[in-house]
């Protein structure tokens, strides 16, 4: 059984990295968004093999909507529908590649060389139940804070994008209106 799990892990690991890389190699907006989603789905699957079922599935569930919205935003705001007009959307390619490779090497070295404690979860526990008890027990404050933060962000985001602001339309700048002289 552990042989199958190992094999699945490597399939998902390769899939996650390759699809994550393809996000920036494609010239189609929708493909970019859905490659990223594929990367998230692969990571979600890895989480499921790690016994974090709830987290993995929630990650997959969240990402469908978010990546569809990403695709739509790109279609809305990019002036050249890629595919119709493929072109390179990359700048400072060399710097970025070096930085990316550097980040990978540094983090991988930390991961390989540092000596982390080897304490796997004891068998016979149910991680989903543990998580539920934790979320609504000792760590409820953290969980609630995350929820409140999300609510605040939702309100902030709506305020930011709404067309009519306190001082008139958003695209007219944010200066106070000049008082008109009355006769």
């Amino acid at each position: 059984m552990s042989g199958i799990v190992d094999f699945l892990f490597w399939v998902f690991a390769v899939a996650a990295v390759v699809t994550g890389w393809l996000v920036f190699r494609t010239d189609s907006m929708v493909r970019a968004a859905y490659w990223l989603m594929a990367s998230f789905v692969a990571v979600g699957a890895i989480l499921v093999t790690l016994d974090a079922q709830f987290l993995g599935l929630i990650l997959i569930l969240m990402m469908a909507g978010e990546m569809t919205i990403m695709a739509i935003f790109m279609v809305m705001y990019m002036m050249n529908p890629a595919g119709l007009n493929p072109m390179t959307m990359v700048h400072q390619h060399r710097t970025a590649a070096v930085a990316g490779a550097g980040a990978f090497v540094a983090l991988a070295l930390v991961g390989l060389l540092a000596d982390f404690p080897d304490r796997p979860a004891p068998s016979g526990t149910d991680p989903t139940v543990d998580l539920g008890v934790e979320l609504l027990g000792e760590s409820m404050l953290v969980f609630e804070s995350a929820g409140v933060a999300l609510l605040a962000v939702m309100i902030g985001a709506i305020a930011l994008v709404s067309k009519r602001g306190r001082y008139g339309d958003a695209d007219e700048g944010s200066e106070e209106p000049i008082l008109e002289k009355t006769e």
Partner: protein, 305 residues
Amino acid sequence: MSPAWAVALVGVLLMVSVYLVAVMETIFGLRVSGVRGYGRAWALPMSRAALLLSQRRSVTERPDAQAWALAPALLGGLGAVALTAIPLAAGVEVADVDAGIVLFGAALVQVMVAVFLHGWAANSLFPVLGAFRMAALALSVSIPFSLVVITTALPAESLSVGLIISSQESLWNVVRQPLGLPIYLITGLGFSFWAPLQLPDARDLSGGTSAEVSGAALLVWRVARASILVAVAAMGAAAFLGGYLGPWLPGWLWMAVKTFGLLAILVWSGHRIARPRMETAVKLGWTVLLPLALVDVFVSGALTL
């Protein structure tokens, strides 16, 4: 259950149910249009499938060919995955996952991706408009959908579908959470973009995301769409109607009866209720179903405590 048997079982069950959905659809259609004699309805889906199989696939100008081919297969796969989360009889669970109901939700939400790809990849006006409609529709129904589905886990104190069913031994969730099933069915129609919520594939878009598809690809798409509807009905039966629980009859038969009862309601509503405007559908999701789903969560939570 060994994986090979499980895959075979889900595949066969799905094909049989999809065929029955097609027959039901034909019979309801004939009934509403006032024609008597439904004998023809049993063979008609077979003939239609054969006709599509003898048709060549159509090609648009510069489609995203890989995504176009992938989308129907992805949709069908999602239907199958969603079905694996549901115990078909006592102890017959294809995928025995603790968080089964989350697996089901994750599979259904990904339907949005399959439909969006299907519309986008054709590189044609009406399919793309269908894709945009799917995004708007699925986003507006997904939150009430998730809420009412997760609420059924409250009395069971577990996310496992098997435990959710056995928690309904004394009382079905449809009674315990009366708001749940109607909201679930409406939003489920949205996810399977079935009439009256077939906005992404509607006739005012000449077929929407499938307007440019023909032949075997169209057949696969239609079968996959029906398989999502089957999965929605099966989960409705499990989460709200006590699944395989019931007196006298064997468990699997109870499950089949409840599933097809719900399927009949869903298919029937497609012929009897008008397709809403896009704006009405989105408003329904955000301003009616979402508050009602929250009420459902709060009331059920209070009752569970």
